[in-house]
Amino acid sequence: MTAEIGHFALILALVLALLQSSVPMIGAARGDAALMAFGRAAATLQALFVIAAFAALAFAFVRCDFSIAAVASNTHTSQPLIYRFAGTWGNHEGSMLLWVLILAVFGGAIALFGDNLRTSLQARVLGVQGMIGAAFLAFLLFTSNPFARLDPAPINGAELNPLLQDPGLVIHPPLLYLGYVGFSVAFAFAVAALIEGRVDAAWARWVRPWVLAAWICLTCGIALGSFWAYYTLGWGGWWFWDPVENASLMPWLMGTALLHSALVVERRGALVSWTLLLGILTFSLSLIGTFLVRSGILTSVHAFAVDPKRGVFILAIIVGATGLSLALFAWRAPAMKSGSLFSSVSREAGLTLNNLFLMAATAVVFLGTFYPVIIDSLHGDKISVGAPYYNLTFTPIVAVLLTLVAFGPMLTWKRDSLRGVGARLRIPLLCAVVALGVAMLVFGVDKSLAALGMALAAWLMTGAVAVLARRWRGTDFARAVRTTPLATYGLVLAHAGLGVTVAGVSAMTAWQTSKILVMAPGQTVALDSATVRLETVRQVTGPNYLATQASFDIRRGDTSRHLTSERRFYPVSRSQTTQAGIDAGLWGNVYLAIGEADKGGTGIVVRMYHHPLVGWIWAGALLMALGGCASLSDRRFRVGAARAAAVPAGRLALA
């Protein structure tokens, strides 16, 4: 019964989405208030129906209703409740429903909270959202119906992939989707602005929080995915340049550019068409991210739905959304003139330069990800592109980009001088040079690339702090701390966080050490400054797995810690996973993973690693996200929108 309710709710949502994509558009073109109001009602109702459908599916998963195909192939009664629930989106159909759910809820939010938007803009934004929603609801209903029934229903289901039965993976996909879909709002606003033919400060003030929120979720989602790979795949890698990782990195890079250029639109009214283009491209890359995972066009560990038919459908959606919006851009954007001019040394110019480098970095990742497809199309050769390519291309671009980051906040709007900004950055420069020297001395000249990374990290961190120092200098400290806007703290946190991540990445690439050996209980091995003692190896039984569990004692200096590492076997799906034992510290982690038992002996294969500063990689990402949150809670976003409503169409009414 619940399945049918869910199914009908989805069909109704599709009908509503189709109406939402046309009626308010017509209303906006004719200036008919009733038709525009219909768009708001449709968006709200559509959100309610999709929520109902999602609830029905989640209920079926939790209750193990194996008469539903998606449930039967992804849930087993022995799975803990939380993973039965998470199973809702741990499969193709359910994850697409989650995607649509987030989209619909965002649409509903624009309808409910968008009172301070110009009515015609709101109607058009909802219209565009309706089109995306209709496309994905149709995709869901026609190619991947989550409520398809099985007859006869099996007695028990197949298990959710054990690799996905992990707390991190419970929230990783929703976070990523919040990011991907959040950018759909920016896309809808960009397309609506192109149709209207004008962009004003109110537009930017509405778009920026959405972009920021999406960016925060995407940052957290990517960091979480990387952290999950680190502790679960058993060798401590944290980034693999896997196509699907790239698929999330590209919208992140582009979204970062969008975030900064929207700032310029909001503050200075410049870079308008550039921002619109970024809005379109960021969401397109999010779509391509979805497309990549699902089409099977690139083979990847993440591809749980390899089905070209679905791929063609999503390809059609991408061609429709991106192609039409880019065509609209080519047609309408040239007529949109930017308000204010800026000199070649100014904050606007700095942000433009940063945008160009982010764009280049995205292009490099894009090319690396799709090069195999291109070569396959041209010659029929199967190749793969790995880390060496990215080290050669991505790293230098990012190095320049990171150097530029510290300049941005130090530049003044409109006009500045190189000499002036140089003087303001004297101390960060000094710190970077000192860091470079120290790293070279301690670790040798052959690790100079990593030393350069450390110098960049120091540059970024001190550069961020310098923003505050400059602001606070000469004023009463307590007062200065209070009057500094939250957005400034956000900027400082985010830029410093980037520095923290860079430090972690540099240290991990250059200075990690590892040992692989067979250890018997009682044996002690030295790893860098730590000693590792294997205490016991025993068999344990979990809720739905059997495991070999090894207990270790790690001694670092005077402190000792107890660690366990497991190798789990899930009998239902007959698969194996690793739970690494990690002794996390500020300066580095000791990482222990066990392999097979030594044949005939009492020992067990142990892989041990020392990962210097690895935690900094994710701590930095968390700081960036926190910075985003601080910026998001700045008063300006709350009062700003209201003020814009009072002065409609602001100072930048465009042609």
Partner: protein, 177 residues
């Protein structure tokens, strides 16, 4: 001139879509063998025990044959096994390469399920497997009468694979000079 610049994104995008469309035509699971239309690399494999002979690359002359890679530890092999028995029953010469496996385990496995192979070669270290470019088990090579690899099937042979691909191919190879 400025207008052209605004056209650039949509033009670039059209190019990318063209590549995607071509890429989608291909089957992502299809990994062409590097040995396609080339002779088998020279190898000689021992049998599962001292009493039974193994085989080598020299075996693959005279008539088209199948070389099936299997292992007792492989999960998909029991699934493929009835199909191999049927193929052998149709008079096709199927040779088994026991990959990364111990002869004892393989013997026990075959005793349980039955032995469809004309001869079995043991490759416990996967040395020959590397030369052949084996990516996993089961895999099946179609070798023509001159000892050249003509096709590689990845994964278990399904009845559909046999009826639509492998059997017609073997018939064609038989007819070839």
């Amino acid at each position: 001139m400025m207008r052209l610049l605004y056209l650039l994104p949509v033009l670039l995008f059209a190019g990318i879509v063209a590549f995607f469309a071509v890429g989608l035509q291909g089957d992502p699971a299809k990994l062409p063998s590097a040995l396609l239309n080339r002779p088998l690399p020279p190898f000689a494999l021992a049998g599962l025990d001292a009493g039974t002979p193994g085989f080598g690359s020299a075996t693959f002359v005279g008539e088209p044959k199948l070389l099936n890679v299997f292992a007792s530890w492989c999960a998909a092999c029991p699934q493929e096994h009835p199909m191999l028995t049927r193929i052998a029953g149709e008079g096709v010469a199927v040779y088994g390469l026991d990959w990364k496996d111990t002869p004892e385990n393989a013997t026990r496995w075959l005793a349980k399920l039955g032995n469809p192979y004309r001869l079995i070669g043991s490759d416990p270290t996967a040395r020959t497997g590397i030369d052949l470019g084996v990516t996993g088990v089961p895999e099946t090579f179609v070798v023509d009468r001159h000892g050249r690899v003509r096709y590689k099937q990845i994964g278990p042979i399904t009845p559909q694979d046999w009826d639509q691909t492998l059997r017609p191919m073997l018939a064609r190879l038989k007819a070839e000079a």
